[in-house]
Assembly symmetry: D2
Homo-oligomer: 305 residues x 4
């Protein structure tokens, strides 16, 4: 855009001004979600998640399913039972009929993981167009974890003492120095000033960015299953956890089904089914006679003992 910046109102102020008064609507309203609207939920040291808008509720899922199944759908089956049925049988389209729009502030390295979920709409703050703020994620001491010795993409024990101090110092100093230099390069005070689209390359991946992220409930559940999982990196998991709390209040029946059939569920391979059946029949099954590799067997035992 070709305009000079003047005194802008922040998006936050704008939202507050525009949306402070309830207005009547004929659309589906989810009371539990209204309570979340526009209230930033703090995440990490400078981040947040905030619901900007939503479409639909538990009843909207049921209503869409009834269009699909027409008069054949038994009214006596309560909505919650139908939602559980749909979730159990991977009938995903009725869940796509709900939509959520979030405003998220998050470190760039988290944003890079997040954006891999392609079935969402995104408007990100442009560091090509605007100047980023001096805000960097610095892990809390209890999150400063060593590399796992057994898992190439996991964390081990928490760093202690001098090592922990050194890491925190390096992260803080490098962040501040990088930002100082970013400002120096941008400055038009006595010099031309480097283009913003170039200067940004000096900022490390713990700098915060923000975006609007809009996604349907089916794809959100997929995101949450992967990112609220114990194997997800802590720094994205806390965002997923915060969103889970919102979804629980938005579509309680769908969320309960999601917990039972996705978050708490276990996938058994054909070999795994065979092993369990043999166990139920009283046989002693070991890795050697399971047909599984050591890795698979370790994962199998983690659930079934």
């Amino acid at each position: 855009m070709n305009d000079q910046a003047d005194t802008p109102q922040t998006p936050e102020a704008e939202i507050a001004a525009l949306r402070s008064n309830p207005q009547p609507t004929l659309r589906a309203v989810a009371p539990g979600m209204e309570a979340h609207l526009y209230t930033p939920q703090p995440v990490l040291d400078h981040g947040f998640v905030r619901v900007v808008d939503y479409m639909g509720d538990d009843a909207a899922i049921v209503q869409a399913a009834r269009v699909s199944y027409g008069a054949g759908t038994k009214k006596a089956r309560d909505d919650s039972g139908l939602i559980r049925y749909l979730m159990r049988h991977w009938h995903s389209t009725p869940f796509e009929m709900c939509e959520i729009k979030l405003h998220v502030k998050l470190p760039v390295f988290v944003a890079r993981q997040w954006i891999r979920h392609r079935t969402a709409n995104v408007n990100e703050y442009s560091a090509r167009y605007s100047v980023l703020d001096r805000e960097f994620y610095i892990p809390a001491p209890e999150q400063l974890a060593a590399q796992s010795r057994v898992n190439n993409q996991g964390r081990g024990e928490t760093l202690q003492g001098a090592e922990a101090e050194r890491v925190l110092r390096l992260l803080k100093e490098d962040s501040m120095r990088a930002y100082d230099h970013y400002e120096e390069m941008l400055s038009q005070d006595g010099q031309q000033g480097l283009a913003r689209e170039l200067a940004r390359m000096n900022l490390p991946a713990n700098v915060y960015t923000q975006w609007y992220w809009k996604v349907d409930l089916h794809n959100l559940f997929h995101f949450l299953r992967l990112r609220a999982d114990a194997h997800a990196q802590y720094e994205i998991r806390v965002y997923a956890d915060a969103i889970c709390e919102m979804v629980k209040d938005w579509v309680p029946a769908a969320y309960a089904a999601f917990e039972d059939y996705r978050m708490g569920a276990v996938q058994l391979s054909a070999r795994g089914v065979d092993c369990l059946k043999r166990r139920l029949a009283g046989e002693t099954v070991t890795q050697e006679n399971s047909g599984m590799s050591k890795g698979e067997w370790r994962e199998f035992e983690a659930v079934w003992g």
Copy 2:
């Protein structure tokens, strides 16, 4: 699903019951769209389009763009100007921040064209699960067009007299007979009754189906540009036209920009640009010296004379 059907409430009755009373919301409300909610807009002889839900308004587009561009966005540029700028420069993501959910009743051959737009969510009435109604599209006499002699996928003049009568009679008789046989095959009266998932194959493509269709505004504009176009088949164009009227009331600024930059726009190829520049310079340009094929030139002349 494994349930017996009993006396269901129609989706229509359900919507009416659930949503007859306005409720307060903190979300963006588009007054022009509230007026459309739940009111079926008749299309063709038995079809309709009805807005079931929507998310966002013109201000939501601006708000998303301002997250992208941050403090750099001049407040003095009014919202409409920013929306025009975004549309002109193909910045599509802010338009993706609005969403609409429609309930549509439409002939199957129209549904088959419509579904080719893949970036939408759909719940269609299942003829595998339920029984379709005895409703078929029969063209109005003025829509009974001959095959175009010049365009392999277009219509020519309206059929007249005996030919028109014969066509209408065949369409009506075949529809009714197909439905009679559909019912006969399904009947469990004195016989087993054919599976619904098989019996449906006897129904012609003018039978009506219905679905919930949910799409973001950017993809909806793409749909409308193609389907509200003069070259689209009449039977889908009338749906697109009905939706245009709704969108105009929902996001008036975005719709105005869409009309100027998409519906009324003309794409010029590099060769076309060259020809126009030569004309502006006073040269007489013909197909022979244009570098265009006969087909291209015909399309060029249709716009520029």
Copy 3:
């Protein structure tokens, strides 16, 4: 398009002419797939599936995963083990690195189910532009099933005797009559001739259409899991089964992993895990003390007894 048709070469002849001679390539070649290329695999009474092109092989999956995991990937883990690991942990992107292009001829009611898988590329024969052939799916007698009494979207026993004969007669007669009238309406012999885009609406859903369908291996596996499943409608399942045979020869390691972790796998809900653990501990679990609904319990028992 604005051209008159003249004597066209069929796509089949064209393919045969263009591709009859092997040519050297530096790309990944899957010998098992080369054997399938261009050979139509018959499905149903007039349909087929034919591989037109493919990209990648088992090694391409591994190679893509190794870019993901970089130098950390142990060479000693054999390719098949890595592929099993990726499949088990839902790492889908390496599977997206393989692609297949199929030419499929199929009844319209099957095409309508198939097209719901949106993550594919499709070029369908246009009945707006061209005239469809006189080919209709008529079920084999052993596929003429009654409506299931327990499952709203399933089949029961095979129809017998007079009922079966009557159904077959109706399907055949209605198909032929609809096609006769289609031709009559289109005819320009002594009349104008109805536009093709209108005449097609008279054809029933068992008429054959054809398309090119291109999809990546991850999305193909998703399609096959749903459509090669015992609950899928027979008429689409036979296509999925034919494709399974091709995929098995194309990417044998990936297909074996797919069979173990998807086709033969069982998903257990949190409640289901709890019930199995109680059983393994020697407890007698019944529907009443399982926490499951009757429907869920029925499905649970079907697997675990």
Copy 4:
């Protein structure tokens, strides 16, 4: 993955070893593309683009279109004419029938722009799992541009003298220091060593990453139109330019149509069409009587004078 790294073969060596010998195939072969296969095309100071695989050629586009249009497609229309027709009329599905797989090494800030194109498949090198190399993008002196004074997201003149030197020094020093600290934090020499998924956050956005990127030709053209455009940031444009050269050799007819109808094309709004028609009729049109804003008029004049 739970394995220890041992001496891996680089992906490069692996490809070379596996693919050094041509093998016979029955698939479509594009000779112009075979010449590009596996040869990294250098981009920026440490980046590259390399074709790993491709599917289809110009003839494959035509073939798919002929399935759509069936016998109606005139053989006499040559392939190039049909491809031009398809491109001109936005018939995108035949172009989706070609696919390309690239291996790209690129700075993270370029990757962040690139990934916004969602309709592609991606496998990125994981800095959670592996250690990134000490490679950073440092702009060539002639690319060290000042912020544009007229365009918030553009570049102005090249920085000179002391300012240029200072910027280059800061970028180099900060990169090297950040990497030194990255290594220090990771080190397990006398300390536990920070988890890789945390240490990476210290690396600035000019560090190089790499990925496999697979996309169909239609979506690739969309990417190229935006990213090979004069308004795209230089650092992504050079990748787009390199890919253009490959596509030109792969599908020469499609690429020529793309140049004429997309890259060299001009979109005129309804107002723009009106202004040009008035000019052609001899009228003098100014911004004041054009109906356009100043910004629009500036863009209009840039093309039409």
